[in-house]
Subunit: 409 residues, 2 copies
Amino acid sequence: MARLGARLLVRDLTQLATPAAGPVPRRGVALAAVEVIDDAFVLCVGEHIELVGRMRDLPAIDGDVEELDGRGLCAVPGLVDCHMHPAWGGDRVDEFSLRAAGGSYEELHASGGGILSTVRATRALGAEALHARVARHAGWLLAHGTTTWEGKSGYGLDRETELESLRAVRDAGGSPTWLGAHSVPPEHDDADAYLDFALSEVLPEAARLAVAADVFLERGAFDATQARRYLEACRDAGLALRLHGDQFTESGAIPLAVDLGARSVDHLEATGDAGVRALAASDVVGVLLPASALFLDRPMPPGRALADAGAPIALATDFNPGSAFTTSLPLVCSLACTQLHLSPEEALSAVTVNAAHVLELAGDRGRIAPGLRADLTLLDAPDWRYLAYHLAGDVVAAVVRGGSLVVRR
Amino acid sequence: MARLGARLLVRDLTQLATPAAGPVPRRGVALAAVEVIDDAFVLCVGEHIELVGRMRDLPAIDGDVEELDGRGLCAVPGLVDCHMHPAWGGDRVDEFSLRAAGGSYEELHASGGGILSTVRATRALGAEALHARVARHAGWLLAHGTTTWEGKSGYGLDRETELESLRAVRDAGGSPTWLGAHSVPPEHDDADAYLDFALSEVLPEAARLAVAADVFLERGAFDATQARRYLEACRDAGLALRLHGDQFTESGAIPLAVDLGARSVDHLEATGDAGVRALAASDVVGVLLPASALFLDRPMPPGRALADAGAPIALATDFNPGSAFTTSLPLVCSLACTQLHLSPEEALSAVTVNAAHVLELAGDRGRIAPGLRADLTLLDAPDWRYLAYHLAGDVVAAVVRGGSLVVRR
């Protein structure tokens, strides 16, 4: 955390690229409005941005200023990962290997592997190791340029592990989301019985720890009626609402999200034309997770159609051990451009200001502008679009978070 | 380079994984034979491996030994990138952005963008900057665990720039391939006229600098007759033969490769059943480039079908500014498992021993075994399969090349 009033001048940047000022993403707002300043500087004071401009307009600065040489670097806003599962034990590398040989994710899930195998490993971790895992994953995120992230629970599914997951996310600096309805753990007879437990025994404390609630609305997990019950209870407890929807099948997630005023509906690999139109006519953000589609070799979500229809969209990693073992939003931007046919400008907005909007944080981050948090990701590149262009490259040269240099390669 | 007789002990490795001993890849050889040793050590003497085993079998070592703590790390052979274009100027980020919006690679190529735009930028660089570029790209490769790589010319297409490209590859430690037949530069009337020039004016010196020759056999580049003419002349000058084939269309690359006894035919995204059978019946290695298919949003090559048919296959990055701006073989392994449905074991062999075979270097590298070069890539992972599983992760913790620690994160 930067000292009160400490100043950091990032100077001589080859480029600075930021989503342009304007209202938070709403229906009809263009996603592609990116402002680029060549030969730029950013002056940070304390945890916030004080001034942004071209080097030729840099004013004289009296007193102590730390300087960061930006030559050869491009600045973009600190990246925001708005859909992420960091709290789990074990791994799923055996399942990854089996799937390479032809098993499907749904088959592995149905056979007692999948999510429930991670639930077993997560319950077995213990609080200290769980916190250490989340902190380690937060370090991976930061190394890839992510300064703000959401972290879901959902691999505990008992009271203790769910709440500890939320604490671990909060302690590691994330925005906690209670994914209490991720899967039905084996000690409950069915989804309804599990929800009885979760809503009476876990929700009261989860609502104090979390910012949002999330549900996996899918064949084999929770149906639309169960999802509505869960989300309405969470909303009444003060949580913002998220949905995993349309990943494998269209099961009513978009209409439910629109009806309940959810912040987002996430995945959408199976969304058809009617879903695209419904989302575009709403204020619900579509969160696209192309790394998950790649990891599972599933169809990509209809990113171009959503953008063309005017739907607000964000992009996220979906980091988790089973279906998206990646913490790299730069990779997600590469996939957005090559697989979803979004422009680099659309991708940048989708991993910054729009993702911050999903987390209800767009008021103070997601762009590079005076008054906002001094969160900057500095790219080792002659053009900011290398963020997407340099596939799996070591593109993140440095990260400034809250006015402090926290990563330097 | 390790001092003569200097010793490096890599100890307490969580795992060591290496393609098993056996003949170099030939028809019918299984690709999946990987030997895994838990709790392992590797003793390097000078530039070579002296001893490999389990820690409990580590003998007493007298005298000076540098030790590298392998706890939490897994060792695989130094990765081998057998298809790579490191010698170029400029970039293609504008084209990347246009393609995201819907332009095809072939359309951009036909309109004077594509390869020829990089030819203009490469000719304009000058020798010093070209050498610096190749050296920089070699650094990127090493950071991703690649200790041996092939580097093609092909963005000069005049005598001076082609030869300088080959020198730059050689000076940066790569294996130079003369890709004299990459595209027809604008100062020549047609492909035949260009080949007249290249074979009479460039080949004699190129044959002294390069190890192999390569041709882009494709609609809009060189046809099968022209490719045969080029390759036969190169073979007669002592070069090994490679082909870019079946990337967009099946244009006779596999029959030509088999007929001429080429080391490999590379790309194969458009290869059908007959091509798979022909390759499997031959000793020509199929080099698959899934990062290029991803980057261009094209169909993936038939990796599973080739492996099932018994064809020897290797995997490579295809690093180049237009169609595969990546130097990450770990990413390629992830794509092999998720998109080509190869196992992690098949992927490992394909980026080590089989790739070394393509470069005629399998005699001294590509596995971890006594007598071979001490080239090791150490993964920050509890299981060596994280090489493929940890998508775009910072999985490479350290690299040993020729017995010396050259990367440590």
